[in-house]
C-alpha cells in the first residue's frame, strides 16, 4: 500500500484510535490520517494511499485527497485543514479527536449560500446580524462573508445608517 511513505504515516495509519495521543506530537500527520476515517471509517488504506503516493488516484475520495495534499505541506495548519476537510462526515469525527484540535467549523458566506445578487439597504433585519452591538460593522473574518458580498454589505449598512434604519453607534 504505502510502504515508501515517510515515517510519519505508519503510526497514524495503523491504529486510528490512538492517534489522538499522537496528534499532540505530530500535528502534521495526525489530522490528515485521523480525519479520513471520519469520512469513511473502514477505509484506512485509501486515506493512506492518497496521502502521498499516487498509486491509487481513482480510489482516493475527494476529501481524502484534499487533506492529503494539505496535511504535509503546512504542519501548523493541520488541525484547521482537517476540520475543513472533515466536514462531510462530522458524525464519526469528533469523539476521536483530542481536546486540542477541535473542529473549526468552516464559515460560509451567507449571501453566497442564498445566491444574493443585491444586498438591499432597506432590509435592516438582514443587515442587523452584521453589526456589533455598539454599531460597528463586523469584519469578514468573524462572519465568513466573502469579499464581494462584504463589499456590498458595507455599502448597504452605511446607507441604512444614513436613513436611521441602523445605528451609527449605540445610544445611552
Amino acid at each position: 500500500m504505502a510502504d515508501p511513505n515517510v515515517p510519519q504515516q505508519p503510526p497514524a495509519a495503523a491504529p486510528p484510535a490512538e492517534s489522538s495521543a499522537l496528534a499532540e506530537q505530530k500535528p502534521a500527520a495526525a489530522p490528515a490520517a485521523e480525519a479520513t476515517p471520519a469520512t469513511a471509517p473502514s477505509s484506512a488504506p485509501s486515506g493512506q494511499s492518497s496521502g502521498q503516493s499516487s498509486s491509487v488516484p481513482s480510489r482516493g475520495p475527494s476529501s481524502g485527497g484534499y487533506q492529503g495534499n494539505r496535511g504535509p505541506s503546512r504542519g501548523p495548519g493541520g488541525p484547521g485543514g482537517g476540520g475543513a476537510g472533515g466536514r462531510p462526515g462530522p458524525g464519526g469525527g469528533p469523539h476521536k479527536r483530542g481536546k486540542r484540535n477541535y473542529i473549526r467549523k468552516k464559515k460560509v458566506c451567507r449571501f453566497c449560500v442564498d445566491r444574493v445578487d443585491y444586498i438591499d439597504y432597506k432590509k435592516a433585519d438582514i443587515l442587523a446580524p452584521f453589526i456589533q452591538e455598539r454599531g460597528k460593522i463586523l469584519p469578514r473574518r468573524m462572519t465568513g462573508t466573502c469579499a464581494r458580498h462584504q463589499r456590498w454589505l458595507t455599502v448597504a449598512i452605511k446607507r441604512a445608517q444614513n436613513i436611521a434604519l441602523l445605528p451609527f453607534a449605540a445610544e445611552f
Binding site: 469513511a40 473502514s42 488504506p45 481513482s58 445566491r115 443585491y118 439597504y121 445608517q161 434604519l165
Partner: protein, 138 residues
C-alpha cells in the same frame, strides 16, 4: 442622459397627520411629473422606530419612493422641497440603477450557467460511489 433609477426615502415627524403626508407625496409626484419622470413605486412604511434620535425624535413616519428619471435637476428639486417641508426630519436619495444593472447581469449569468449545468454533474457524483466501494472493500 440615460435613464436613472433613484430611491428616495424621507421621514416625517411621527405626529404629522397622514393627510399631510399624502399632500407632501402629491407635491413630490407633481414635480416628478413636471420633469417627465416616472414614479415606479411609492410605499408608506408607516411609523417606525429609528435607530437613533433625529431632532430629538425616536420615531418617524417613513415614506419610500422609487423614481426613474433622466433629468438630474429633478433630484435637486425634490431634495429642495424635502428640505423646505416642515414635517420632514430626514431624507435620503440614492441612485441605484447601476447596482440593479449589476444584479440583472449576475442573475442572467447564473441563469445561463444553470441552463448549462445539466450536462455537467456527471463528474461530481462519481467520487461518492468510489467512496462507498472503498469503504465496502475495507
Amino acid at each position: 442622459m440615460e435613464e436613472r433609477l433613484y430611491d428616495l426615502i424621507f421621514i416625517c415627524r411621527p405626529d404629522t397627520p397622514e393627510a399631510e403626508v399624502d399632500k407632501l407625496i402629491a407635491t413630490l409626484e407633481h414635480s416628478v411629473a413636471e420633469k417627465s419622470a416616472k414614479i415606479e413605486k411609492i410605499e408608506k412604511w408607516g411609523r417606525k422606530r429609528m435607530a437613533y434620535r433625529v431632532r430629538k425624535l425616536r420615531e418617524g413616519f417613513y415614506v419610500y419612493m422609487s423614481i426613474r428619471s433622466n433629468h438630474g435637476e429633478l433630484i435637486k428639486e425634490l431634495e429642495r422641497r424635502l428640505k423646505v417641508a416642515d414635517p420632514v426630519i430626514k431624507y435620503l436619495t440614492i441612485r441605484i440603477d447601476e447596482e440593479m444593472k449589476r444584479q440583472q447581469k449576475l442573475a442572467k449569468h447564473r441563469e445561463r450557467r444553470a441552463a448549462r449545468r445539466p450536462r455537467k454533474p456527471a463528474p461530481t457524483p462519481a467520487p461518492q460511489p468510489g467512496e462507498q466501494t472503498a469503504s465496502a472493500a475495507g
